[in-house]
């Protein structure tokens, strides 16, 4: 029972991060029609940025954390002009291929030019394994606590932006009908840039929490995370924000539980098997496409 609880808590923390990443991903998909496979890589590069700054400043968290957020935000905005010609044509397939190109470059940078491609570790002060609550031998660490509630706050802030502000309304208008959005006088390019910025911001926040939960980063993490994001989005339905949130959580919990209970590498197969069935039976995803 305690193992179950420990796995569940871990799963919730991880799941909340998946939910956050998927949300940022969906934002780009909805507003600009861009499938940014390299979004996960931008998150991981944010982690690396934090590591570089932490190493340079002697583990100064006040500098390291903003470094991650800033790096991801800037990187995301930098990719906007690359996607712009494809966005104009609404060529989703090509945005995916382009994002693979970007991912190749980012992975290369991490694998060859930072720390010789070896995993980078984050200081204890960040991951803070000190326990907050105990369930017998299972415990919720401060890090997991921060992660779970931090991501909840981030998601809530984002949803507030999307549903209660004019900017958010403009985003949703662009998602539903780019033509009508244009007629309403919404500055498409500026809003597009803003969406990349906000997605990058969310990514940076995720990077911080990932650093907290995982304690380390490595170059292949980009691909690993990217594939999970894409798989979750497919499962939930392309562009479906609410679906993405829920399925991100489910994925995290499922991972946490299967790692504990299923032998070998079956957890991956289970996840992908579920996805395959969904695709065959309901290609729009469980909650339906919203693009």
């Amino acid at each position: 029972m305690e193992v179950f609880l420990a796995q569940l808590i871990n799963g919730l923390a991880v799941g909340s991060m998946y939910a956050l990443v998927v949300t940022g991903f969906n934002l780009l998909l909805l507003v600009s029609g861009v499938v940014q496979y390299a979004y996960a890589h931008i998150v991981v590069i944010g982690m690396y940025a934090a590591w570089v700054v932490l190493r340079a400043t002697g583990d100064n968290l006040l500098l390291g954390i903003p470094a991650a957020v800033l790096c991801s935000t800037v990187m995301s905005i930098l990719t906007e002009p690359l996607f712009r010609p494809l966005v104009k044509k609404r060529a989703i397939n090509q945005t995916f291929v382009m994002s693979i190109g970007i991912a190749m470059i980012l992975t290369h940078i991490m694998a060859k030019h930072i720390h010789d491609g070896m995993p980078v570790g984050f200081p204890e002060s960040l991951s803070d394994q000190a326990a907050v609550v105990q369930f017998g031998i299972a415990a919720v660490s401060k890090g997991q606590f921060y992660t779970f509630f931090g991501t909840i706050i981030a998601v809530c802030a984002f949803l507030y932006l999307l549903y209660r502000t004019m900017t958010g309304r403009a985003f949703r208008a662009m998602a539903q009908s780019p033509f009508v959005a244009r007629l309403l006088g919404i500055p498409i390019t500026k809003m597009g840039l803003l969406s990349y910025g906000i997605a990058g911001l969310l990514g940076g926040v995720t990077a911080v929490f990932l650093a907290v939960t995982m304690g380390s980063a490595y170059p292949a993490l980009g691909d690993s995370l990217g594939i999970k994001v894409i798989a979750t989005v497919l499962f939930a339905g392309l562009g479906n924000l609410k679906g993405g949130l829920i399925c991100g959580l489910i994925l995290g919990i499922a991972e946490g539980l299967t790692v504990g209970y299923l032998p070998g590498q079956w957890s991956n197969a289970v996840a992908f098997g579920m996805i395959m069935i969904v695709v065959m039976v309901k290609p729009e995803g469980i909650f339906g496409i919203r693009v």
Partner: protein
């Protein structure tokens, strides 16, 4: 022929086959990533058939083609009508599922892989034969009603039904053909490398195929033919210092091509111009 050069040519052929396998469904607007999955199936089947059942190599390659097609057929039941991008993710899932399944199958070596696959007797001739047969099939498909139907689908998936195009049929055939090509490629791979292991047939394979298809030319089969040797070969002959940057160069090329020339270098215009040029040359020669 020196072994490295031989391997280079055979790998070019493998990459061309795989690029064609991605090219075919892309003709009707589906980004189809299952070639890697079918290749894995074909490779393992061919390897096992020759080592455990003592099949002759040629038969194994033929069988692998069918195995690849079969592995493509079942998912195609659901995927043939899927909108362009959903196909990409779903077929990507196939890659990982098969990888994971094989990693847990002890009788083909599990994660460690399957070794001791004998090489082909006449590697170059065998591979070239496979390539030429595949090329002819693709050429015929491209210039048939199916090819034209696919092109219509590419430009307007929803409107096309009124032209009498059966979306399900087109999608199915293209995906199954793609599977067959990949199965054959997988068998060639197995017999050339001598061993197969799950990690080889992963997502990273796409990082070579995508540049070939999208930089080379995604609206004609000839793009892959020219660019597979170029993109595969150039990093091999460049000095180490530059070759190290291969990923960055490929990534940058991919991004630039998509922005400036999305149809790829070898576009239909280019093929047509070359075709006309060749006809002119032949005519000039005849007159002498």
């Amino acid at each position: 022929m020196a072994l490295p050069v031989l391997n280079y040519f055979i790998f070019c052929i493998i990459f061309i086959l795989l690029s064609w396998a991605v090219y075919l469904p892309y003709r009707c607007g589906q980004l189809y990533l299952a070639p890697i999955y079918c290749m894995c199936a074909g490779a393992y089947f061919g390897a096992y058939a020759v080592t455990a059942w003592d099949w002759p190599v040629a038969l194994a390659i033929l069988a692998s083609t069918f195995v690849g097609a079969l592995f493509a057929f079942f998912p195609a039941i659901g995927l043939r009508k899927a909108p362009g991008f959903a196909t990409a993710i779903a077929s990507m899932a196939l890659i990982f599922i098969l990888q994971t399944v094989i990693m847990n199958l002890k009788f083909v070596g599990g994660s460690a892989g399957y070794f001791g696959i004998p090489p082909m007797d006449y590697p170059l001739i065998t591979s070239l034969t496979v390539l030429v047969i595949a090329g002819i099939i693709i050429y015929r498909v491209d210039h048939s009603r199916l090819g034209r139907a696919a092109e219509l689908l590419f430009y307007g998936r929803e409107e096309v039904g009124c032209f009498g195009v059966n979306i399900a049929w087109v999608g199915m055939i293209l995906q199954v053909l793609s599977g067959g090509l990949s199965g054959a490629a997988g068998a060639l791979f197995a017999f050339t490398v001598g061993s197969v292991f799950p990690a080889a047939f992963g997502f990273s394979f796409l990082l070579i195929i995508f540049p070939i298809v999208f930089i080379g030319g995604n609206f004609t089969m000839w793009g892959a033919v020219f660019f597979a040797p170029i993109l595969w070969g150039i990093p091999l002959i460049l000095p180490e210092a530059i070759a190290e940057w291969k990923d960055v160069i490929f990534g940058t090329l991919l991004i630039c091509i998509l922005i400036f020339r999305p149809e790829g270098v070898v576009s239909k215009q280019v093929v047509r111009s070359i075709g006309i040029g060749i006809q002119l040359l032949v005519r000039i020669n005849k007159e002498h």
